[in-house]
Structures are given as C-alpha cells and as structure tokens.
C-alpha cells in the first residue's frame, strides 16, 4: 500500500501543477495533472489458494514420478509415455501458477485526485479499467465481515454511484479503513474545490470519458452543470 501524500488533501502545490506532466505515467489514461494519492494491490490472501494448489500438485507429481521410476524400468516405452504426460501436466500447472502471481502484481486499485480506478490487467488476455469520478460518488461503505477479514485486515469497499444507481465493489482491499477515510477526505476536498470554482493551475480538469465523448458532451460542461445544481 502506498502512503497518502498529505499535500494533496487540501489543495495542490503550485510547483507540481506547473512542472510535472503525469500523462500515462503510472497507468494508461492518466491525465496530465492527475496525481496518485493512494495505490494498492489486492490483499495477498487471494493468491493463497494457488499456493496450496501448486503444493498439492507438486506432491502428487513427485509421488507419481518416483513411484513410476521404481516400478517401470528406464527406457520402457510405457514409462516414457506416462512420465511425459505427468511432466506436461506439471509444466502446465507451473506456468499457470506463476502467471497468476504475475497477474496479481498487475491488478491495482488507485485513488487519484480525480477518480478511483481499478486496473484489471493480466499478462495476456485482460486489460480492463474501471473508473469512478469522485464527483459521482454518492455513498461509501466498508464491509469487513468475518474472522479472516479482521485478522488479516482486508475488506470490501462499496462505492455507490449517483444517477445510475450502480455500486462498485472493490473486494480484498487491504487496509480498508485507510481507504475509506482517505476517499471521503479526497472526495470532500474535490467537491469543495469544484464548488469554489478554483482552477487548477489554469487547467480545466477534463477527464476523458469514452461514453461522453461519443455523444459529444465534454466532461467540463457536465462539471459546470453539477456545480450549478449544487
């Protein structure tokens, strides 16, 4: 888990606004003035089933290999076929296990000064991004039910989104208390800034959205309408 940079809670330092260009720095689609405030991978408990699985399969693999080598003499065609099959299966599980570990490192949850982003990336097949803008968050809930959740300090962050009555759940989030508190602070700060119409270094915080872009409505217009309503 990354620590929160307190400078960004109540505002944005001028020097970082002007000098730093964060475009695509830490994830695809990061905006120029978008700063990462909290970032985490999911709790390592999610890889525990894979560790137990590979341990079990390794035990079975060694039992078969040594059992076969004791019973079938070396060079026997049936023994070769059996061992080839066993090695093939074990290699498959080995690659699967290590790819799960690599995928674990690529799946991150990020809180920036504009939005909450879940980057669901795998080595080969998946490259998804789930984003919620801070001004759309209506309600926040933290679920931490169960013995393991309490002992290992992980939980589910439930984000209720306004207008579309949708909820976004981030499961297996480590240190959910910190996320809950920080997200509330950042959201409040963001809304206050928008209400006060304070420009960030002279730049409009336009966040790209394919949905809005398709219908030709810019995000800044929606921001302004929301501010008027508030």
């Amino acid at each position: 888990m990354f620590e929160l940079d307190e400078r960004y809670i109540d505002g944005f330092p001028e020097e970082s606004r002007e000098e730093v260009d964060n475009t695509d720095r830490s994830f695809i689609g990061q905006q120029k003035h978008e700063e990462i405030m909290l970032c985490t991978r999911l709790h390592p408990i999610i890889i525990l089933p894979y560790v137990f699985g590979i341990a079990l399969i390794t035990a079975i693999f060694f039992a078969i290999v040594y059992g076969t080598s004791n019973v079938i003499p070396k060079g026997e065609i049936m023994g070769q076929i059996l061992l080839f099959g066993v090695f093939s299966a074990y290699m498959y599980y080995l690659h699967r296990f290590f790819n799960k570990l690599l995928n674990y490192y690529l799946h991150v949850v990020i809180l920036t000064n504009y939005r909450v982003i879940e980057v669901i990336k795998t080595v080969y097949f998946c490259n998804n991004k789930d984003t919620i803008d801070l001004h759309k968050i209506q309600d926040l809930k933290k679920d931490q039910d169960g013995l393991f959740c309490t002992i290992f300090n992980y939980g589910t962050l439930v984000v209720e989104v306004s207008a579309i009555h949708e909820t976004k759940r981030v499961r297996y989030l480590p240190n959910p208390d910190k996320w809950f508190q920080t997200l509330n602070k950042v959201k409040r700060s963001y809304i206050e800034r928008r209400r006060a119409k304070v420009p960030r270094g002279g730049h409009s915080p336009v966040v790209q959205s394919s949905t809005y872009d398709k219908v030709g409505v810019s995000r800044s217009m929606l921001h302004n309408q929301m501010i008027r309503v508030l």
């Binding site: 830490s26 970032c39 570990l101």
Partner: protein, 71 residues
C-alpha cells in the same frame, strides 16, 4: 523416437511461454511505473525479481529433469 521429439517440443513451448510472459510483464511494469518509494513487497518480504527468477529456474530445472528422467 516420438517421445524425444515431443519432449523437445514441450521444452521449447515451455521456455518460450515463460520468456514471453516475463517480457510482456516487465514491458508493462516498466512502461507504467507506480511510485517506487512507497512500494510494498508481497507479504512484506518477497521481491518481484525473486518471483521472476523462481519462474525461470523452475521452468529450466523441470525441463532438464524431464530430459534426464525420460530419455
């Protein structure tokens, strides 16, 4: 004769898959770096390079062992 050929194909496929996986992985994480100063290790002590090294070692060791045991 069939088993050695299949074994060579399996070894090539396995090592190739490992190499491509690690290449894709490192290409992505070097392109989009998260703030390194606040990086937390897996379970507090497992470095990412250890996992990559273990992947390479286990794949190569298993391949060599398969050749020694089967042929």
């Amino acid at each position: 004769m069939l088993i050695p050929i299949l074994l060579i194909l399996l070894a090539l496929a396995s090592i190739g898959f490992m190499a491509v996986s690690l290449w894709f992985f490192y290409k992505y994480i070097f392109s989009y770096r998260l703030p390194r100063g606040q990086y937390q290790l897996l379970l507090g002590f497992i470095h990412l390079k250890w996992i990559s090294a273990a992947y390479v070692v286990f794949t190569l060791a298993l391949t060599i062992w398969a050749f020694l045991l089967i042929l």
